[in-house]
Amino acid sequence: MMRNYWEIYKKFVSTSTTMAMSFRLPFVLLIVMDLCFYFTSLLTIDFIFNHIQHMGPWNRDQLMFFMAFMLLLDNLHMTFVSESFWELSMMLKTGQFDYVVLRPMNTLFSTFFRFFRPSTMLNFPIAVGVLIHYGLKIGLAPSAWALLPVFVILSFILLIQVEFIITTSMFWVIDGLGINFLRMQFQKLARWPNFVYASMPRRVFTLIFPILVIGSAPVSFLIDQSKWYWPLGLVTSIIVLGFVLSFLWTTGIRRYESASS
């Protein structure tokens, strides 16, 4: 079964690439836009540290490492799933989602992984390079280097789970504009380490709706490996949200009423 899904995903990539590359200027603009976003994000942190020595327990390089980690997640997010959130809303409104339901495959997979963004993929080496650069600067331990790719994957899974759960509400509200902006606001919240938030929002966004676990958990552990509870929290969040997502998605699909012809 996995082999078939892999074959399908390869086709998703090839058709998305064919579609994206048939419009040359937007393709190049997207690459430039993503690069601008990475560098302004890093420059913002750099600018803040021109005025302060520490932010919470972290210094400039540690926070830059955190930011580089989040930018790599953003790169993966933009490459593999970002387009689908906007497409889903349109598909629900127009009834085009009918064809997703009809296909003999997991609807969650065909909804969220259908659109691949090759232009963003081209920036992947830059995002990885920046992360390695700041990893070297903060002197990551060899075991931390070994765990880094695993944490990138786990954090990416948690990030998309959170976003899929938010997006599932489109089955109830249909119009996805507000939901997509809400999702993006949560993304912004997750782009800062958990300690910058006051006690109450920090608890809510760590224990109840774990968006702060996405970046803070792996980076805190990679910097200080005595904090074992962070990776445990990350894995627990993924398991719990997996069940929540599965329940909400199934309920949402049953609620789908299509659109009149």
């Binding site: 003999p104 495959m105 699909i253 299509s258 012809s261």
Partner: protein
């Protein structure tokens, strides 16, 4: 309304527990599709016109429950081609969507190929196909062949079968040259041919066609019809088709189901449908010169004359057709005469204008 919603929720819960959706009678049935008391209700909101109505509706919404399909019983056997007919909003597409598992019924029992469609098992989805004349499944910005290759992976079709089916269908539909052109650059008729191909790549056992010829010119309509006839001959799959073009129904369907306001009005052979309004043939005569429309011969034949009185349309009882036609040809200077090509169209028009006739017929 709350009662209706409760009923709907109850039915869903019962269905989830396997207590609804499969009666003993259905278990023993050989029908490919079997529906008993199938019902679908939609909840919408009433909104008064204008900004005031918008503001009022934002805070206080009056919901309206509409029964799109109510207590619908239906059976389809293997290899049948059935036409689902009815005016706009009658519930045809809603039925198709329930049959294919796109939407969940509010109540009733439904089995398609032995499956509850709304459970959407992979096995079920591999055995059916739906073509919607107003929605495209092909990707707009890429050639059809790329979409076909993706569908090959979806349905796990081996390379040999895939190539064979592509060759066979592209030949029949004459679209070999079109498969490598972006979809958005094709005409509606060309797109519809490729849509059909896309739906048939996995050789479905049941094919649902929702207005497949809508918006097509006469030649394109004819091509699509001919393709469906040939495909059915070769594959003996069951086909359920909805269309507003009676020519589609006449050419394709052996059986007809008429839906009016979500309820079944008629279900039977096409020949029987044509006789709902009586065993009469509509025959039109054209004369060389004007004829007196008040002659006793026309009495009881419901004559409809043109302005010049040189053309008349008559409804002649089937058993008197030979006699009366002979009399007219003998007595008047007839230069042309023709029997109605599609009586079904007249029956449909009459029933849509006056649905009570159907109740009288059924009674």
């Amino acid at each position: 309304m709350s009662h209706l919603l409760c009923l709907s929720t109850f039915c869903k819960k019962m269905a989830e527990k396997g207590q609804i959706g499969q009666t003993p009678a259905m278990k023993n049935s050989t029908a490919l599709i079997q529906a008993n008391g199938l019902t679908k209700q939609f909840v919408s909101y009433k909104k008064e016109a204008g900004l005031k109505g918008t503001l009022k509706g934002f805070f206080n919404r009056e919901s309206v429950v509409k029964t799109a399909v109510g207590q619908f019983d239906f059976e389809v056997q293997k290899g049948e081609i059935i036409g689902l007919l009815g005016p706009n909003g009658a519930g045809k597409t809603t039925l198709m969507k329930m049959f294919t598992g796109i939407i969940v019924p509010s109540a009733g029992e439904l089995k398609v190929l032995g499956h509850n469609p709304w459970e959407r098992s992979k096995d079920f989805r591999k055995k059916i196909a739906l073509v919607m004349g107003q929605k495209s499944q092909l990707w707009w910005d890429i050639p059809a062949m790329d979409s076909f290759l993706l569908l090959q992976k979806y349905y796990e079709i081996n390379d040999r079968d895939f190539k064979q089916r592509i060759d066979m269908m592209s030949e029949l539909l004459d679209v070999k040259k079109l498969m490598h052109i972006q979809i958005r650059r094709l005409s509606l008729g060309e797109r519809m041919k490729l849509e059909l191909m896309a739906s048939l790549l996995h050789s479905p056992e049941v094919l649902f066609l929702d207005e497949p010829t809508i918006g097509l010119d006469l030649v394109a309509q004819e091509n699509i019809r001919q393709f469906i006839i040939n495909y059915h001959k070769q594959n003996q799959c069951s086909i359920i088709i909805t269309s507003h073009y009676m020519a589609d129904v006449q050419a394709l369907c052996q059986r007809l189901t008429l839906i009016l306001d979500g309820k079944k009005g008629f279900d039977g052979p096409l020949t029987q449908f044509e006789k709902i309004l009586g065993n009469e043939k509509v025959v039109s005569f054209t004369f060389e010169k004007a004829i007196d429309p008040l002659l006793p011969l026309w009495k009881g034949l419901d004559p409809k004359w043109n302005e010049l009185n040189n053309q008349v349309e008559l409804r002649i009882p089937e058993n008197e057709l030979r006699k009366i036609s002979g009399q007219i040809i003998e007595q008047f200077p007839v230069i042309d005469f023709a029997t109605e090509k599609m009586p079904i169209e007249r029956v449909m028009k009459t029933l849509m204008n006056n649905p009570k006739l159907l109740s009288e017929y059924n009674a």
